[in-house]
């Protein structure tokens, strides 16, 4: 047994987190920053933070992840990090020539009280910021919230760049939340099918799934141009996908630039995608083409074709709040039973929402925000499940408890595909179901007796 010390009996823990189901804010900010065209993320803290975040993102994407750091020493920690950051800004613009530097803080720089706007002013006054280049900053204290909060804070900092437009530009803002580059591309494809011009930020498609061509470019063609982000203040409206990842930015656009916003669930699965498409159509005043209805029909077709394998199957889920909310709804909608649901991110609303979504399921549901994977494992020991969905760390539990695992979420360190194949939208829904079915049916084929082993399923 790998996790041989995890007891079945759940004892309340007040101070100790074991096998976290979250990580810290800055990595979310770094990921979001990579979705701006020509942007170099910068970590204002010890260099270890930056090294860890780059490593984690690189392992997840198998792509280069460039980011710089203020490389705090003990002296900087005592006297403040201004000199380090100003020097870093100078070096970055001179050596790497990005269009944008997106700075996020760390627990270190937050604890000592470094003030990013003031340091940016100093850098500008010292002529360290070439004309036309942008500095962007987000406070991301690691001791508040989670990686999701950090992502949200950086996206909010992007929204803060938006300028109110006297005339609406006819576009719709989509704030996609922490989804994969493939998902962001899929959302753009759907918008294009419906004929809606969108500004999507952040947009990591083309950045974290770049081709191999014999040439390395620190700033690939992907990412949202900073100009488009500035102009997002003149949009018709904003669709924010996910309360936890995207709502703050959308609400800021609303208050600052009077761009009305709707906060939707992330479009994982049938119904959440339905609501996304419908909201997009209404906002832009477009009609939805048949192609979209056909995609929807394909998803529904697979659900009905294979319903017997979904029906009543118990599932354990771990991940981030927005994704879990949408996935829970999807699984319940196809008559699966998500019974253990954990996120490490704090949030009372999360637990309430999951309770609402699972109400009609007729089963006892364990749900916890600010939980950890140790607790989830204990729940699984007490009430076993047929399927497990979560990041790569789940494989230790899955192996010990012999549960089929679908890798989904962040980080995925041991399988490929997430950067290339979407799980949002109807086509993404098909991919999720394909993965679920493969996991369940591979298990069935493994476990069936020779007498009941069957060719056709």
């Amino acid at each position: 047994m790998l996790l041989r010390h995890t007891p079945k009996e759940v004892a309340e823990r007040k101070a100790l987190t074991i096998n976290p189901a979250k990580t810290c804010q800055p990595i979310g900010a770094m990921y979001a920053s990579l979705g701006i065209r020509g942007c170099l993320p910068h970590s204002h803290g010890s260099q270890g933070c930056c090294a860890y975040h780059r490593s984690a993102l690189t392992r997840h994407y198998k792509e280069p992840v460039s980011a710089a750091t203020s490389s705090f020493t003990e002296g900087a920690s005592v006297f403040g990090g201004q000199a380090n950051l100003v020097q870093a800004i100078d070096n970055i613009f001179t050596v790497y020539e990005p269009e944008v530097i997106a700075v996020h803080t760390t627990c270190l720089s937050e604890t000592i009280g470094d003030d990013l706007p003031q340091i940016f002013d100093k850098a500008r006054k010292d002529n360290k910021v070439p004309p036309g280049k942008t500095l962007l900053g987000a406070p991301t204290p690691s001791y508040v919230g989670s990686h999701v909060t950090g992502f949200s804070n950086m996206v909010k900092a992007m929204a803060a760049l938006a300028e109110p437009g006297e005339q609406k530009n006819g576009k719709v803002n989509i704030i996609p939340g922490w989804v994969e580059p493939s998902d962001m591309a899929e959302l753009k494809r759907l918008a294009e099918l419906i004929g809606v011009a969108v500004t999507m930020f952040p947009d990591t498609s083309g950045v974290l799934n770049a081709p191999l061509s014999g040439e390395y470019r620190m700033f690939p063609d992907g990412g949202t141009p900073i100009e488009e982000i500035r102009q997002s203040g003149a949009a018709l409206g904003t669709l924010a996908l996910g309360e936890y990842c995207s709502a703050d930015a959308a609400r800021l656009l609303d208050t600052k630039c009077k761009v009305p916003c709707s906060v939707l669930d992330m479009p994982f699965g049938l119904q959440a995608t339905d609501r996304f498409i419908d909201a997009l159509r209404v906002l832009a005043g477009s009609s939805v083409p048949d192609e979209v209805a056909v995609e929807r029909g394909r998803l529904l077709d697979l659900i009905s074709d294979m319903h017997q394998y979904f029906y009543g199957r118990k599932v354990a889920l771990v991940g981030d709040p927005d994704q879990l909310i949408a996935m829970t709804e999807f699984l319940v909608s196809i008559d699966m039973c998500p019974i253990h649901i954990v996120t490490g991110t704090p949030g009372k609303k999360f637990e309430k929402r999951i309770r609402e979504l699972t109400e009609g399921m007729g089963r006892e549901v364990n749900v916890k925000a600010k939980g950890d994977m140790f607790l989830l494992h204990q729940w699984i020991k007490n009430e076993p499940v047929d399927l497990f969905m979560g990041n790569s760390y789940c494989k230790y539990i899955a192996r010990d408890e012999d549960i089929p695992l679908v890798r989904w979420g962040f980080p995925i360190l041991d399988r490929q595909g997430h950067q290339h194949f979407p799980t949002v939208g109807y086509m993404g829904g098909l991919r999720i179901l394909e993965k679920i079915l493969n996991a369940l049916l591979d298990r069935k084929d493994r476990d069936d007796e020779e007498t009941t082993f069957e060719l056709v399923l």
Partner: protein
């Protein structure tokens, strides 16, 4: 790429100038002293600047002190609970991400490797102090797991807000009575790289663990293996060879290690140092306190492995062991030579660059030499000058502000346990016969004249080096991997081995030959251009044809 033709196309001074050209003047001046053109001088090597601050904004390969302490040195021990006191991230990122493999038995034995433990500090802990939460977390660890030891690690904010983790650890150790609780002040901002973390870990391991066991080890040829972390199973392969030779490895610092191994390490008769940078402090302290001499070994490369085994046998000086070692080498080398003969025709003359760690950029040159490949540029991420130039420079090293705040512990001969393993005359005789104690000659002497030795290489320089010198293979870590490969040059991770290994010892060498053959001779890199990109000219056809 990288054949004899391209080799003559570059000139080291020209390369160096091109690496520095784009930097702001201050950065260029600093980097110029960390980029050294290797020149063979009489009994000495040129001076290089190392172990100095990373330049803010210059994308570095380095990590932090916490990473060196918790991640590298303390991470691989299976039966100690590593509790990270800080916000969640530091614990999360160091959770199973280094590939130090562990053999903790099928069941029953303690194995906390697949777990991450953290106090997950919140803003209220930052404001009001985190000592109470730490104390409560230690209590919860104890109640849940009853481990032999609990190690507490400080992250950046802990030092800033002044939590006294050592006092908490002492208090809890006394309270439990049967669980050793000790702490590491390894805040990420200390020092200039992970190297400071190694030093901090060395000190605490030595203070709180080594020599604490009553168990007597009566084995015949007892050694400690220092600075071997069992990445990809390297330590397993070394242990297999040692066992075959009849040599007992009391304690590995710290691959596949256990509490008891550290606790009995004082009973070894020889310390063998693999990674000089990360562990030489412990080697010195073991000698001072217990009288255990140390030698530098290297189990990376089949010839180096054989040489290291012979050194150990020479130290013990008994014919039985010397003969046994020769028999083992002869047995093992047969398979190695077969593999080598098979691969070398395809690897000979190819070029490699190595930028990794504090020892691997040196050790792995032995393996490349066995493949008849040439190392044209190399350097360390976090080493000190002695790792480049040899230990003779240690007395001349300037202690700067960043090193001064890393504790140096004073160790004296233990009144009861100190026992010289060899008499002064015996040691002198061994030295005379060529067995050098406390000696490491560093990376520079092994590098050819005109090669480039670069400390703390950064992303920009890496990219430039590859563009200008066009190596057949680049070796570094995960952060560097894909930017290099995008240019069409294969990249081998020498931190994590790209999920491969072991590469140490005899079987490891065979694995490495195959792996390098795969990388430098793969077809994968030949498909960069689509047919229409290679031949863009169109041939027209008439529509009426």
């Amino acid at each position: 790429m990288g054949n004899a033709e391209t080799l003559v196309q570059w000139e080291p001074n020209d390369i160096k100038e091109k690496l520095l050209r784009k930097y702001p003047p201050k950065v260029a001046r600093k980097r110029a002293r960390q980029i050294m053109i290797n020149e063979a001088l009489e009994n000495t090597t040129p001076e290089i600047v190392a172990n100095v601050r990373t330049i803010p904004g210059i994308i570095t390969m380095r990590g932090c002190t916490y990473a060196g302490c918790k991640g590298v040195i303390m991470g691989p021990t299976s039966d100690i609970v590593n509790l990270v006191h800080g916000p969640v991230g530091c614990s999360f990122y160091a959770w199973l991400t280094r590939r130090n493999q562990t053999d903790a038995g099928i069941k029953g034995e303690d194995n906390f490797m697949p777990y991450a433990f953290t106090t997950d500090m919140q803003d209220s802990d930052i404001i009001f102090g985190g000592e109470q939460k730490l104390e409560a977390a230690i209590q919860e660890v104890y109640e849940l797991f009853h481990p032999k030891g609990i190690a507490v690690f400080a992250t950046c904010p802990v030092g800033l807000i002044g939590d006294d983790i050592h006092a908490v650890a002492r208090k809890m150790k006394e309270k439990f009575g049967d669980c050793n609780v000790f702490a590491f002040s390894c805040e990420g901002y200390k020092g200039v790289s992970q190297s400071a973390g190694h030093h901090i870990a060395n000190n605490q391991v030595f203070t709180h663990l080594v020599g604490t066991s009553e168990t007597e080890r009566s084995d015949r040829y007892k050694i400690n293996l220092l600075g071997e972390y069992n990445i990809g199973g390297d330590g397993f392969e070394i242990d297999r060879i040692l066992q075959k030779c009849g040599i007992t490895n009391i304690a590995t610092f710290s691959g596949n290690s256990s509490y008891e191994q550290f606790a009995t390490a004082n009973q070894a008769d020889l310390s063998c140092v693999m990674c000089h940078r990360s562990i030489n402090y412990v080697a010195d302290m073991l000698e001072t306190k217990y009288g255990i001499p140390w030698i530098k070994v290297n189990f990376i490369g089949a010839k180096s492995t054989a040489k290291s085994l012979r050194k150990i046998a020479q130290y013990f000086g008994e014919q039985e062991l010397i003969d046994r070692v020769e028999t083992v080498i002869a047995e093992e080398m047969a398979a190695v030579e077969t593999a080598q003969l098979e691969v070398v025709p395809r690897t000979t003359g190819k070029t490699a660059m190595l930028f990794v760690g504090g020892s691997r950029a040196h050790h792995y040159q032995d393996l490349f030499a066995e493949l008849e490949m040439k190392t044209i540029s190399a350097g360390y991420e976090f080493a000190h000058r002695d790792d480049y130039e040899g230990r003779q420079v240690i007395p001349n090293l300037k202690v700067d502000a960043d090193s001064r705040n890393i504790e140096e512990i004073q160790v004296e001969a233990d009144p009861e346990l100190y026992r010289p393993r060899k008499s002064a005359a015996e040691l002198a005789a061994l030295e005379e016969a060529g067995l050098k104690f406390k000696e490491y000659e560093g990376l520079n002497p092994q590098m050819e004249e005109g090669t480039l030795v670069i400390d703390d290489l950064n992303q920009y320089e890496a990219e430039k080096l590859v563009e200008l010198m066009k190596p057949d293979l680049f070796c570094a870590g995960i952060k560097e991997k894909y930017s290099i490969q995008k240019t069409g040059v294969p990249m081998k991770q020498l931190h994590s081995y790209d999920s491969g290994g072991p590469y140490a010892g005899f079987k490891g060498a065979v694995n490495f030959y195959a792996e390098i053959d795969r990388l430098v001779n793969s077809k994968v890199w030949s498909y960069m251009k689509a047919p229409w990109q290679e031949n863009p000219e169109l041939s027209a056809t008439y529509v009426w044809e």
